[in-house]
């Protein structure tokens, strides 16, 4: 009955619609199954054993009990490594900033002077970013020995990649109209950069650098584990010697450093925005 009232091609359209709807549903089910499979294999590969958390609870309570109260009598010995940790981050961020700026300029598609330099700088940025700072620290400890210097170098190299990429993207997304206007006045390339590009992107670059400093302070805490100076080295030593009251002091100092850096960085970035 109904079919007689429909245009001649309507049944075909409806069949095609229902087939495409069924196909889309099937694809959705397959995607959900794949997602579940990925999660399950991850649980197997990392050998998740919730029962170990229950059996290990006693051990964890024991460590916490032995960590209390924190032994503040040695606080003065913690202050120097704490300063070292902050200074490693400051050095790493500043060196990274200075080295990543020229790389970012040639790695920004809209201002790069040549395609060859563009790909070369993108390669350097990619390489320095893809190798973790802890691995860079291991390499620099081997090269220049133990202490804060390899830590600073590791953060500097890793920061080149992280900041270089963000700087380049900031330059690529800037408004090009003032730059084109300066170019048409006959200004030279370097003048266009310092009078047009830099003032336009400076607040963003400073914001990125402050955020990187905040990240680097957190990273430099860990670099001590591989002998690259700072509070991390003290933390590892105290743990190896089962000095848990000393460990708790180091963790409190770490917490204060991280929280203060995070807050100061956020305030400074808010003011720049």
């Amino acid at each position: 009955m109904t079919a007689t009232h429909l245009p001649p091609n309507e049944p075909h359209t409806r069949t095609a619609d229902s087939w495409s709807h069924a196909f889309a549903s099937a694809v959705r089910i397959v995607l959900v199954l794949i997602a579940i499979l990925v999660v399950v294999q991850a649980l197997f590969v990392v050998q998740v054993r919730p029962q170990d958390l229950v059996t290990g609870f006693h051990g964890m309570v024991d460590i916490l009990r032995r960590s209390m109260p924190p032994d503040f009598s040695n606080l003065s010995t913690v202050l120097w490594p704490a300063l070292e940790t902050i200074d490693i981050a400051i050095f790493g961020t500043l060196a990274g900033l200075v080295l990543s700026m020229p790389l970012a300029i040639v790695a920004a598609a809209n201002v790069t002077p040549s395609r060859l330099l563009y790909y070369a700088s993108r390669g350097v940025i990619g390489l320095t970013r893809s190798v973790p700072d802890l691995v860079w620290a291991l390499l620099f400890v081997t090269a220049v020995g133990l202490g804060p210097f390899p830590g600073g170098l590791a953060l500097a190299v890793h920061s080149i990649g992280m900041m270089g990429r963000l700087f380049a993207e900031t330059i690529e997304h800037m408004d090009m109209a003032p730059i084109d206007a300066l170019s048409l006045t006959g200004a030279r390339r370097m003048q266009i950069f310092t009078h047009g590009v830099l003032p336009s992107v400076l607040p963003s670059l400073l914001g990125i650098s402050l955020y990187r400093l905040d990240e680097n302070i957190r990273s430099s805490l860990v670099l001590g584990f591989v002998g690259a100076g700072g509070i991390g080295f003290q933390l590892l030593t105290a743990m190896n010697l089962f000095q848990y009251q000393q460990v708790s002091v180091l963790l409190i100092v770490t917490f204060v450093i991280v929280l203060t850096a995070e807050r100061l960085s956020a305030i400074a970035r808010e003011r720049l925005a």
Partner: protein, 247 residues
Amino acid sequence: MLDIRRLSLRYPNGKLALADFDITVGAGELVIVLGGNGSGKTTLMRCITRTLQPSEGSVCVNGTDLTRLTGERLRCARLELALISQHASLVRRRSVLANVASGALGRYGSWFTALGGLPAMELHLANGYLAEVGLGHLAHQRAGTLSGGQAQRVAIARALAQRPRVLLADEPVASLDPEAAEDIMKLLRRLAGEENLAILCVLHQIELAYAYADRVVGIRDGRMAFDLPRAEVSPDEVRHLYLSRAA
């Protein structure tokens, strides 16, 4: 001052955007180009500034043919030719004074200017140009805080700082309210006379062309439709410019 002969541009797809365009703008003259959307007005401006390479013809500024120049020689020749466009294109985070003075950067090759410095003499002159466009009191304000009309005046002051012989204006009042648009046109009219500038200005506002132009040039489908003193331009000729091709 500005002498354009048989200027043509054919895009790689074969489309003729500009055909055999002839126009001369003398010192102290304000010539206004009228034409509909897609008629070739902006293409003409871009061919003059050499941001587009014309297929044929010449663009002579004070006797130098820009179409034959490249690299450093083109950069030096461009010093004679300033452009203001629809949007003021100022560096928003810099002061008004620094924006104006940066118009003269092309005249300097020193490390001082390459590293972000502005010569004291240019800052002094920039104050004068700002006073000339009526914005001397805003010299130390950030460019990003200006209104559209003020920003366009600063763009004109920056063009003056370049100390050009020819000033190109590509729809300089398109984004301004009628009062600000009148102000800008009055300013251009005055500058043509006082600074002895050759001004070629693209507009959409017919009434402004009638009020301020020495000559009016009509452009349609990339070809010159007429080039007449403003008193001789008939409303019919202008209306014809804006008729669609289908009509």
